[in-house]
Symmetry: C2
Subunit: 208 residues, 2 copies
DNA sequence: TCATAAATCCCCCAAATAGGGGGATACTAT
DNA sequence: ATAGTATCCCCCTATTTGGGGGATTTATGA
């Protein structure tokens, strides 16, 4: 496992790009094999570079970093993409991860942590900056003060799975009319009158 | 911000409990104010302890750790719960986070990392062990080889939000019949014949 | 003890919805 | 040229939904 880790960097800011390249290249066990200032430029040659890990910026000229991830993964299926950016918006983060990024670091990350993260990602980890980890964990947390009862929450979850009243009744071993009653109460409490609105409100407020 | 961090530990294994207590208590800036071997025991007194952070085991006698989290958060709304366990099953992890845990460490975590994580959690971070972070990040990643086209994926997402054909047609500025066609194709490709089954399969395979 | 919430079940009704058929056309990329 | 995609059109029926109106039982808490 003492193989050198081959790193490519895609970053449009020259100063940062050179800085990272120098820092990482100077570290034992790491080799910066190429640097690019955009995806468009990288796409031509990166497949032959065969890096283990790509450090990727989000704000790039041309194809942005988020959209570049699936393209890079297609060119290099066994390569890990590590996002290194100033963006901290939830959408950006979740889109980057959904698109296949294996880690997400913000640019205030100390260089030792960046270098450590490159190794971590190649060993199957999922490195994140502290502030990113907070957002990611929060995205899982449910609202502790739901107006809905347990049963109601459970039924709303099944509605969120696209199930009909009949299917829900079967699954919970209760009568169709009981399911109706619960749904009526859910609608009353959430002040909505359709499945779609109930789901939307419940997801927004993390009731389900 | 140089205040001492008050820590409580809930862990049924005496050796581990004493070990953690010793390690953390001996560290500058940390104070272990109480240790308990179960939630039931802790519930009586922990509200008056007022810890900043609770280190919580999952496999506990009586009320298990997962179920204890919301109860602890109710007793101490401003306290952070940090899970420290051997369990690494996806369900356990996601349930713990959904219930309000602010971090998740596995027991092979080196003590320096545990101590660092306690500080991190109090500063709004979301510390995780490397293997946990990997699972968490994977849970966001979509399948890159979906059989569905972009439009089909988009429509299936809206179905997953409980929307009717008419609502989808409105939202996408296309005809009701076009939505129908797409849904027919989705059902064909996924080999299902209902919304619920399509959603289930799509979620399982991370197509949406 | 009395009110409240929760969970269960029952009936009426009309309108909307879903899913199974059968097509067509135009554009794009390979 | 062929396949895939996106768009639109028609037939049909059974299912589903949501709005009314109830009732009963069991906890739980004030």
């Amino acid at each position: 496992m003492a193989r050198t880790i081959k790193v490519s960097i895609i970053e449009d800011d020259e100063t940062l790009r050179d800085g990272y390249a120098f820092l990482i290249g100077a570290t034992e066990g790491y080799d910066v094999i190429s640097t690019y200032c955009s995806y468009d430029e990288a796409s031509k040659k990166i497949a032959t570079d065969k890096p283990d890990v790509i450090l990727l910026d989000i704000e790039l000229p041309g194809v942005n970093g988020i959209d570049a991830i699936p393209k890079l993964k297609k060119l290099l299926p066994n390569c890990y993409v590590l996002i290194l950016t100033v963006y901290e918006s939830e959408k950006q983060i979740f889109n980057a991860l959904a698109n296949g990024a294996s880690g997400y670091l913000t640019k205030n990350t100390p260089s030792t942590k960046i270098i450590e993260s490159i190794k971590e990602v190649r060993e199957g980890g999922g490195p994140m900056s502290i502030n990113i980890a907070r957002l990611v964990i929060r995205s899982f947390q449910k609202n502790q003060e739901s107006p809905l009862s347990k049963r109601e929450t459970q039924i709303l979850e099944l509605i969120g799975e696209g199930k009909s009243r009949a299917q829900i009744a079967n699954e919970l071993f209760i009568d169709l009319e009981t399911v109706r009653s619960h749904i009526k109460n859910i609608y009353l409490k959430l002040d909505v009158n359709s499945r779609a609105d109930a789901i939307k409100l419940a997801r927004q407020n993390k009731l389900i």
